[in-house]
Amino acid sequence: MAGLINNWLEQAEQQNSAEPAWLQNKRQQAFSQLESLQDPNRKLEFWRYADVGRLTQVIDAGTESRPESALPSGNEEHDLVVRITDSGFELSAQCPDWLVIKNINELDEELWADLSFDQETVVNLANVVLFDTGVCIEISKTAKPVSILIDYQFAESNKWQYLRNQIQLAEGVHAKITERLHSGRLNVVNLFQVANQTELLRMQDFILSSTEQLVSFNQFDLNSEASVTNMSQHLGGALQHHLHRVNFNGQQAKYTSGSINKSYNNNNIVDLIEVNHHHKNNQSEVTHRSIAKDKSQIFNNAKAMVAPGADQSEIEQDLKNILLSEDAKIFSKPELEVYADEVVAAHGSTIGALDEQSLFYLQSRGIAIEQAREIMIESFEQEAIVC
């Protein structure tokens, strides 16, 4: 059998199943759904500008190193590091009483959350069938402000790893959760369940060499008065495909997203965000800054859906893109789908080169053109740094 779905199904059939019946049942449902779908292809919105072929390619790593981080806080201290490896996970310190971290396979049935996948998200659906590692993090109401780093360190760089993380934040919690790739080829699903009046700062920091691949699906369920700030940095990679789905399940919550995508050589980055204003009085602000160089390609899309009755929703989508070479490509699409009457919404997208007037301004002060370009790029990235 050929094709991605067949490969996934074959892989699933070979899995050793000592799991509880309810989880086997969930996987079987996903398996059946997968059987009814087609391989990801360019006819799909989410894969239109992605090189699907790279999901099956293994590219020789050579000696290439990873690009440098655009974020200033690359090496900050964390209260706890969760290192996920081929053999499970390990913690840098003991968990306090208010923090429980366990293997995702040990999740209780009542804590499991079904995620909605379809043809567009078929690669993420494969994760439900195949995930065999990941963590469940529960932070309870009595928690102190906490910073946790989830660090992926897999020895086999050519093997796809399927991970699922489920993070539950109780009412009133203040947490920072950073996700970072040290090594490996990942297909990861993250679910953040954010209770009332909870503040989450989430950072996704994926810096890949031109031979590495990563697919992520990230769902944020926000209850009333919750606040989520999501800062993503996606640099490099043969393929990076990220989908962020935000569900407002209460009122007066806020989701702020900043995303920096930088591609060079032959990189292919897809950064998608889908915000669902199911209820009234919620606010979402999305700021993407993408920079493509050489023959690389970026697709960034921000979509907001405002359901009937979700009045007083406030939406802002600000996508700006810079092309640094003639052969680089960027596809950028802000989208609003509004079914409510009273909504404040603004969206915009620009694609262009570095502003010549600004470059000249820097040069006229004595700064050489290459350094002037670097300063301009840094300046451009800063606009998306939301934390």
Partner: protein, 246 residues
């Protein structure tokens, strides 16, 4: 210091300067006045090396070097400074970082040691105090959220820090209220010295009440049609430029 000899130049496809000649000696202040579209800003941009402003004929000698042969950053390091008519905003880059980068880039070009953070901080604090400007300017991103007056003040402050040999002020007085005009003019006057020259491009005589020029030139249709002393500026204020067409 500066010798512009019979320069023709175009901005984009349009020929703007048509045989302009001007000599500026060390310590002199030259005011360039003229009607809209005469080529005043093109002259400033040509000297600073703006892309798409290109000399098609003539020469510009600056301290023995062919200025037109140098990149904009090389011209700056050689001592040319253009105070922009419309300074650009650079979000996320604070003035302090920007100025230190610029200063050290110029020092590197001249073969001088870079200035470390502490030295630089002491120097800019003193400069900003001497120029009667607010030091919050240093922490703010370059020109972002600045009023028109603040942008022009920032240009003059940058000039003070970079200490050029030839400063070209392109309509630095436009958009300034009386107080801001005084602050900017005082800043320029503080920088006047026997080895530093100025070309002041302006529409109005009022700036020249504060900065006394040695020469005033009238630029029309791409070349200097009349030169004189400060008195010429006063005449222009009274008569306008209508006489140019007679």
């Amino acid at each position: 210091m500066l010798k512009i000899n019979d320069v023709y130049a175009k901005a984009g496809d349009k020929e703007i300067l048509k045989g302009l000649s001007l000599e500026v000696k060390p310590g002199e202040v030259h005011a360039i006045m003229g009607p809209n579209g005469a080529g005043k800003s093109t002259l400033g941009n040509l000297l600073a090396g703006m892309p798409h402003v290109e000399a098609t004929q003539g020469s510009v000698d600056f301290l023995g070097k062919d200025l037109l042969d140098l990149e904009p950053e090389e011209r700056a390091a050689e001592g040319v400074f253009l105070a922009f008519q419309y300074p650009v905003e650079i979000p996320g880059v604070n003035n302090m970082y920007f100025l230190r980068t610029a200063l050290n880039a110029q020092r590197k070009y001249r073969g001088e040691e870079p200035m470390d953070s502490a030295q630089f901080l002491r120097m800019v604090k003193q400069k900003i105090k001497d120029m009667n400007m607010r030091d919050d300017l240093l922490k703010r991103p370059v020109n972002v959220g600045f009023s028109g007056g603040e942008k022009k003040r920032n240009e003059v402050f940058q000039m003070g820090v970079l200490e050029p040999k030839l400063a070209i002020l392109d309509e630095t007085d436009s958009g300034l209220d009386i107080d801001a005009l005084k602050i900017v003019s005082d800043g320029v006057n503080q920088l006047r010295s026997p080895d530093r020259s100025f070309i002041i491009i302006t529409h109005y005589q009022r700036l020249l009440d504060h900065i006394e020029p040695d020469f005033v030139h009238v630029l029309a249709d791409g070349k200097i049609v009349k030169s004189g002393t400060k008195k010429l500026a006063l005449e222009l204020e009274e008569q306008g430029y209508g006489w140019l067409n007679q």
